[in-house]
Structure formats: structure tokens, C-alpha cells
Amino acid sequence: MSETLVAVLVLMAIAIVPIVPAFVLYKYLDKQSAATAEGPAVYGLKVKLGGPAAVYALIFVALLYERPRETQHFHTWTVEGVIAFEQAPDEAEANVNDVVARVVPPRLTVFHGGGFSWEVAVTETDDGRVQFPDLQLDARGFRGVTVPMGPNRTYGSVSVVPEYDMKHRRITFKSPIVMQSVSVGKAYFGSKAQAAAPVATPVPALAVIK
């Protein structure tokens, strides 16, 4: 469902739904017998409500107080640009592939002792499905680790299973995420490794990649 359609439906609901309690109140409440309510002056005008209107105003204020307050949301934006290097004349040309890019927030730091606590944006679809991202941990001299944060486990990933507190939106890894040194076990030699046989899929040209 598109955002425009959702917005239209919300506006329609705001316009139509209050008619139901208003109809009930005006049909069954005697206009003269209900108490009156007088509001504060606004721009010199005082509002005085009587009968069903006063009751409706009270209901409206109560609902306003109890309204859902979770309004934070996010959208995906495309960020484009160019990075340029300014160097001394005798310096070797910079390698653009040495650039490490991060998005802040969130600030993802690891505490002394290896602990961490990170605030991570998680996508929720219109129908309430949560799409957890993956966690990628790299350290020089260690094998990189990809940790899926979603509950659907399959082979391939590390065997660390998180615990979920959906009410407080918290994911906890009870057991440590182990990063293994490249010195542990047999070293990798690409020249002596198994050649992967390409399946008949053409290699995309550089121009096609966005």
C-alpha cells in the first residue's frame, strides 16, 4: 500500500470516525440536561460547550491524552557525491579503495572488554513485518564475521543466536561473538585453492553498476 493511499485513508478516518460518537451523543443525550464546560480564552474568544458537545469535547481530550506517541520513522535516502584527495606534490597517489565510510549515528564502538550496545535502525513494513539487518564485524588479523540479527536461522552464519525482547525492541547476544585470528587453522592460499566454475551468467559491465 503506497504512502499516499495510507495518508488518504488516515484523513478519511479522521473525518468520518468522529461522526459515530457524535451521532450517538446527540441522539441519546438531552441538550439541556448535560453540564456545560467553558474553556480558556483564545485570542479573546471564550468557548462554552453544552450538552453533547461538552461530552464529545471531554472524550476528545481523553483520546488525545491516550493517543499513540510512537511517531519516529525513517525512509531510505540515496546519497551521492565525489571524494577528492588533497595531497603534497611529492606524495604517492591516494588509493580511493582505502577510504572507509561510516554513517553516524549510530556510533558503533566496542567497549573495553569487548562489550557493545548499539542503537540500530530496523525496517518495519506496513504490515508489521520486521526486516532485521546483518551485523558485519571486521578486525585486522581476524576473520570477518557476519551475524544475522533476524530470527530466521540457516546454515552459513555463525552459531550465535540472539534473544529478542520485541516489546522493548532489544536484541541480546547471550554468548560471545567469536572473531577468529587468521593464524588459527590452515592459512588461505588462493593460488592453491579450488577454482570456482562460473555458471552461465554474464559478468555485468562497469557501466551498468549504479
Binding site: 579503495n97 546483518d134 544475522p148 590452515k186
Partner: protein
Amino acid sequence: MTRRDFVAKVLMVSALSATLRAQQTIVRGRLFRRGPRGEYPATGIGVRLTHPRYGPSSLSYTDSYRGMYYLSAPPGEYTLEIWLSKDQVMRFTIRALPQEFTDIAPIQVP
């Protein structure tokens, strides 16, 4: 389904899971790009395995230093998928061996 059939199915699934866990190998390899100054690691690219029976594995992203990926899997024939983007995938056939590591030769990506 009778109670005996249900118990048999549960035992079979448990046995299969135990077998998968017991015979895992770590499939590892390296992705690289070639530029005017030579090769450099292709980092942050998603790689996964697919098997006709086990289905797709989780994604492993090539690391920041050497462009290495690591995926644990039971021995067998797999399709290695390199996800350059959500629309561009490179596919290779590999054999995961019954040993600690199955090393795959470096693959050049665009």
C-alpha cells in the same frame, strides 16, 4: 498423521540437523577488483551458497581488509552467489569438501 509417524519425523529432522552440524566445512575465498595500480580487495560484498536440498545460506560479507568471505556448510555441491547488488548476481559452482576449510580461488568482480 499418527503419533508414531510424528515421532519418526521429529527424530529424522533431529538426525539431519545433527549431521549438518557435525560435518560443517568453512568455505572461504577472496573477491578482488583490478585497477590501474593492480588488484585490491572487493570489500562489503554479500556472498552466499545455495544447495538444491538445504536451500540458500545466510549472507556473508567480504571483510574490510582482504575481501575474504567465510561460510560454514555441510559438504556437497553448491552454487556460490556473489551479490554485487540486489539485481546483479554472479554465480559459480563449487564443491564443499569434508574437511575444516574449503578454499575457493580468488574471484575478480567488476
